[in-house]
């Protein structure tokens, strides 16, 4: 395919949504999110691998599309298309939505992350997406969703810092952060285990893997369908893509991290099934479904890390798996919304506690009682905590006092200054004598 056309499409898949994110531009357009998606739609239907080098951009980067990322792009386009429909107000053409800019920034970041061919641009664009998503959550009127946004913000900051370290480490090892060579070079490094650990912890924060998933059900509790879909295609699916790109899957056998991932994935699935799924509100069920999908994906990654041959054989199915699950999730959310709009079901779904959960709560209750009964001054713990807080204030006062002292120490400083000036004069005289 003509290089200019493919380059134009790749750049405009990011550039157009970014441009339209400016309110003066998208206010004047009908269906701005759909228009922003046009280059990406064209890319999905072009059946050849595309690549463009942008050596002047960031630390020297490129954009590209191969068979694997095409699946990701397809699910992204589909999801964003549905999101854009939910964004439209019922009367159709009055298209300005106050949060459209944030949606378009999320879209830019997410599309860019899919098309990124190196770690830095993936990181940069997925961070843009993450902060725009947080903006959408925090802008919601519902306090539960805002709380979810705040929790996700903390997790995202930690994830970004951890992944930053992973990138710095990867660059120190390979000198090239392109995904095409990164996995092979990393797999030969002595620091492989450390790198794997950092990457896995970073992405666990980013995608909300158990036990860091709490923000996701909170966000889904009362989120609009557009936000709910965006949370899947944005933080979760793009995070999964990131971990897929950054790990040397199929190149190296790492039984320890692989085993850990298998365990973590299994625990995630079991936890959600036994503790969460049944008692969740209907609106939250897609969030738990997303968590189960993440757990399954993580188990797949664990298997791939433990046995490279397995990944070489079946790894290509990973994007298809995410595509299919995304489709299921989209249908789930849309059908819930449809049913609720028709009044067939309500958002709430109060279900009795599971047996295991009741046991767990009884155990905690018993432990608390036992502690307070045997240690009547158990509340001292709270006092100690309060003291801790007071300590912080003391520190603050100490800082203030220190600066006040430094500022008021003018007399001593002036004396010292005089001493310095006398010394300088003496040294000048001495220097003149020597030279």
């Amino acid at each position: 395919m003509n290089g200019i056309v493919s380059g134009f499409l790749l750049v405009s898949a990011l550039g157009l949504p970014l441009l339209l994110a400016f309110p003066p531009l998208h206010r004047r357009l009908p269906w701005p999110v759909h228009i922003a998606l046009l280059p990406a739609i064209a890319l999905v239907f072009i059946p050849v691998d595309l690549c463009i080098e942008l050596p002047w951009f960031l630390l020297g980067t490129g954009l590209g599309l191969d068979a694997g990322s095409r699946w990701w792009l397809a699910i992204s386009v589909m999801m964003w298309g549905v999101i854009a429909i939910f964004l439209l107000p019922p009367n159709g053409r009055n298209v300005h939505h106050p949060l459209t800019s944030l949606f378009l920034l999320s879209l830019t970041g997410q599309m860019g992350a899919v098309l990124a061919t190196d770690m830095v641009s993936f990181f940069a664009l997925s961070t843009l997406m993450g902060y725009a998503c947080i903006g959408l959550l925090l802008a919601d009127a519902d306090e539960t969703i805002r709380r979810a946004g705040r929790i996700y913000l903390v997790l995202l900051i930690l994830a970004d810092i951890i992944l930053f370290e992973a990138m710095v480490m990867a660059e120190a090892i390979s000198e090239d952060l392109g995904f095409a060579t990164l996995a092979r070079v990393i797999s030969l490094s002595n620091s492989l285990d450390l790198y794997l650990s950092i990457v896995l912890v970073g992405f666990a924060f980013k995608v909300g893997l158990w036990p860091l998933h709490i923000w996701l059900p909170l966000a889904y509790a009362t989120a609009r369908p557009a936000t709910a879909l965006m949370l899947w295609v944005g933080p979760v699916a793009t995070g999964l893509l990131g971990v897929l790109r950054c790990l040397p899957l199929g190149e190296v056998s790492a039984p320890m991290p692989g085993g850990a991932l298998l365990f973590l994935g299994a625990v995630t699935i079991l936890y959600v099934i036994f503790f969460c799924f049944k008692r969740a509100q209907r609106r939250q069920q897609p969030a738990y479904f997303a968590t189960i999908v993440t757990g399954s994906f993580v188990m797949g990654l664990g298997a791939g890390l433990s046995d490279p041959a397995l990944w070489s054989g079946y790894g290509d199915l990973a994007p298809i798996f995410v595509f299919t699950m995304g489709l299921v999730l989209a249908i789930m959310i849309v059908s819930f919304e449809w049913s609720m709009a028709k009044g067939e079901i309500s958002g709430a779904n109060k279900v009795d506690r599971t047996l295991l959960e009741s046991w767990f709560e009884a155990f905690v209750h018993w432990g608390r009682r036992a502690g307070i009964d045997t240690l009547p001054d158990f509340r001292a713990l709270w006092l100690a905590r309060r003291d801790g807080l007071r300590q912080k204030r003391i520190w603050q006062r100490a800082f203030d006092a220190g600066e006040y002292f430094l500022q008021r120490w003018s007399f001593a400083l002036t004396l010292f200054l005089l001493l310095v000036i006398v010394t300088v004069v003496l040294l000048f005289l001495d220097a003149a004598a020597v030279l």
Partner: protein
Amino acid sequence: MNWNTALPLMVLGSSLLPGLMIFFLSEEHVVARTSLNLASAILKIVLIGGMFWGMLHGHHYESRLALLPGLDLVLRAGPLSMLFVLLSAGLWLVTTVYAIGYLEESPYRSRFFGFFSLCVTATVGIALAGNLMTFLVFYELLTLCTYPLIVHRGTEVARKAGRTYLIYTIFGGALLLLSSVWLYTLAGTLEFTDRGFLSGLDTSLHPTLILIFALLIAGLGVKAALFPLHGWLPLAMVAPAPVSALLHAVAVVKAGAFGIVRVVYDVYGIEFATDLGLTLPLAILASATIIYGSLRALFQDELKRRLAFSTVSQVSYIVLGIAVAGPVATIGGLIHLVHQGVQKITLFFCAGNLAETLGIHKISEMNGVAWRMPWTMAAFTIGAFGMIGAPPLAGFFSKWYLARGALDAEQDWVILILAGSSILNAAYFLPILYIAWFKKPPDSWPAERSFGRNETSWALLIPTVVTAMMTLALGLLASAPFSLLEWASQIVNRGFAQ
């Protein structure tokens, strides 16, 4: 005197002469004063551009005037000096435009703009200084020119801040003078030289050189706001917003940080400084300042005070980059000299816009202000994310090179400092953004001024948006030809043995 020897003096004179002329203009001569200000700022950029072009084509620019027997006043254009001189001249232009709008109806504007121009003259002198004595002369001139700007408002608080500033900076200047003279008695020269001029001295002098280094750093550390010599900086935020921008981004703290770069690279030489064991204590001091400044910023409700403590923290990244003593980390330090300047000036412009338009001085008064002043707060958001180090903004690349350099130099602990600092940066900047964008605005603002359909005056808004765009461009185009990164790499290659 030919073109090559005259040009550095012309660059200096392009702000000195208009500055002196402005003193003699009465308050009513608004057009003449504004024209002089803008013309001199543009002329300076043109002259510096010419000097830069000439340097790329192999010209050597140096002016030398006799100062003392054996000591000349030397102005010389080199890669490092051009980096600082371009930064200060570029930001001076936007700050001048901003100051014209900011002080539109204030008294004593001629005095203000006169000293403002002298400040930039001193900064350019610092940047182009070819030896430590020239550096010292302009360093002290900068102290004297900034004092009237800090006390410009004439209030008791401003005068107190000015006194504190003078005490600190004269103390720093005296230490610098002492150490320079001492160094001269030992080495017989103070000429800045690639890889330093002290490595050839007798080993018996090494303890003395260590002591002199400590004195130099203490002297320069006052202006660079190194802990515990930073006390003047948060107090000086009582000055008008353009002065704060000048102090924090263009001139004063940058002069201190630049001086440390000069001492480590061109006086001692990075390799000799490392051999003497000087860089590790400097790195520890910079790290302590980074964390301390961020911790202090967390507790401030006054916006400019929070930004001031943020400067204490951020300027030390430059020192840290130098002190890590590797080429890559040094690139990080040098590019942060520019990045911090551009980002911080954006933030101070925004603080000024909020104060001038709505009378907002405290973070607790900023509820929902982004819906009233969207362009200003969008610029603030870019500046704040840049400071946190979020990609693809300029600050990310500073942190990237610092961390990468720390790994190369096998000083992994620096990465923990950077990570901790990033968390603290997020902790003190993101709540501001949350309050501004997501909280409900009040029914009325503390002291609102109307600017018609615009959120504020164009003279205040345009420089703010321009510097925010620069923050974005410096990040996105980091690897473009003639980029800052390329330039910093060239400087570093001269400082390290190949």
